[in-house]
């Protein structure tokens, strides 16, 4: 067996196992870490397929930006009472797995009986080497044949940026100020040190230790002793 095939099986095995981890992990942060592992292995497979630029783009865009943002949002949004994968909805789960198996069988049959081959392209390895490498070849192709699509992609990204800015704003101005400051924004550091809109009473007084943090209430509470600290988990479940 050729060494390439062994390497491929190793990479593909880890990629698939990690992908399964994304679906099976209880903790969403563990899912995200699995996904990173899967993406990095797939990037290595891209290198085997002579797509060095895409391998690096995959690592920079997917693992370096998208999953980091997912983790960021995971840590910002509520993590108590997470919907459990392993509890409830057995019917839907069974149907999901069944559909997956059916699709797998279909695709496997399609791959094994595939007889259609496209016309060979114009970039054999020698041609790619002649222009200087994978990235130069992609650049030439991208900025000549695919000039219009890449402009459209640029517009799409711009629209997405504007959309994200719009989505991040609450609807009403009063609400915007109140909600953004009090409910769901973890103040990474306030510009002036003191937030005039945040009532001081938000912080629990000396006698309401029993108070559970309400739904969207995310005030930072200073713990006075070790027990109190573990009673009020910051984010995620308590482990004992």
């Amino acid at each position: 067996m050729a060494i390439e095939v062994l390497i491929f099986y190793l990479l593909a095995g880890v990629a698939i196992a990690a992908a399964a981890g994304v679906v099976l992990a209880r903790n969403p942060v563990h899912s995200a870490v699995s996904l990173v592992l899967s993406f990095v292995n797939v990037a290595a497979i891209y290198v085997m397929l002579r797509a060095e630029f895409l391998a690096v783009a995959q690592v920079i865009v997917y693992t370096g930006a998208i999953i980091v943002l997912v983790l960021f949002v995971l840590m910002l949004v509520q993590q108590q009472d997470l919907p459990e994968f392993h509890g409830g909805r057995p019917l839907r789960r069974a149907v999901g797995f069944l559909l997956g198996l059916v699709l797998l069988a279909e695709v496997a049959a399609a791959i094994l009986t595939r007889s259609l081959r496209g016309a060979p392209g114009s970039w054999p390895p020698e041609a790619v080497a002649a222009v200087g490498g994978n990235i130069q070849a992609i650049g030439r192709e991208l900025y000549s044949v695919y000039m219009l699509p890449i402009q459209a992609t640029a517009l799409l990204l711009l629209a997405a940026t504007v959309g994200a800015l719009f989505l991040a704003r609450p609807e009403l101005i009063e609400e915007r100020l109140a909600v953004a400051r009090r409910l769901f924004t973890i103040s990474l550091a306030h510009p002036r040190g003191v937030d005039p809109l945040q009532p001081v009473a938000e912080l629990p007084g000396p006698h309401d230790n029993e108070r559970k943090p309400a739904g969207g209430d995310r005030v930072l509470v200073m713990a006075r002793n070790a027990e109190e600290f573990t009673e009020q988990p910051a984010w995620g479940e308590i482990r004992r």
Partner: protein, 102 residues
């Protein structure tokens, strides 16, 4: 099989895609569903690049590049929606998000 063929990469792609699909069908946390969608997009990229490798073409690689760009745009909007959702309804469980239905 003692040599790498396109079928190897197609099977990898199919496996990743189906795992992603099962995840979308069975999980309820919006963020995990989002990650599974990314996994499916990525599986499609493996196919694209596998075919480009087979045919000595760059078209597949360039398509994969566009998929990555679109995935980035989708991530930005998707995560923005998740933030808005959790801010408004206080949940990331899609079964509880049924405002549009009722």
């Amino acid at each position: 099989m003692s040599e790498l063929t396109t079928a190897h990469f197609l099977f990898l792609s199919a496996a990743l895609f189906i795992i992603g699909m099962v995840g979308v069908l069975t999980r309820r946390n919006v963020l995990i569903i989002f990650m599974c969608v990314e996994l499916m997009l990525n599986a499609v990229n493996v196919s694209f690049i596998g075919f480009a490798w087979e045919q000595n073409a760059l078209t597949g690689q360039i398509f994969a590049l566009f998929v990555i760009a679109v995935a980035a745009a989708e991530a930005v909007i998707g995560l923005g929606i998740v933030m808005a959702l959790s801010r408004r309804l206080d949940t990331v469980d899609i079964d509880e998000v049924r405002q549009l239905r009722e």
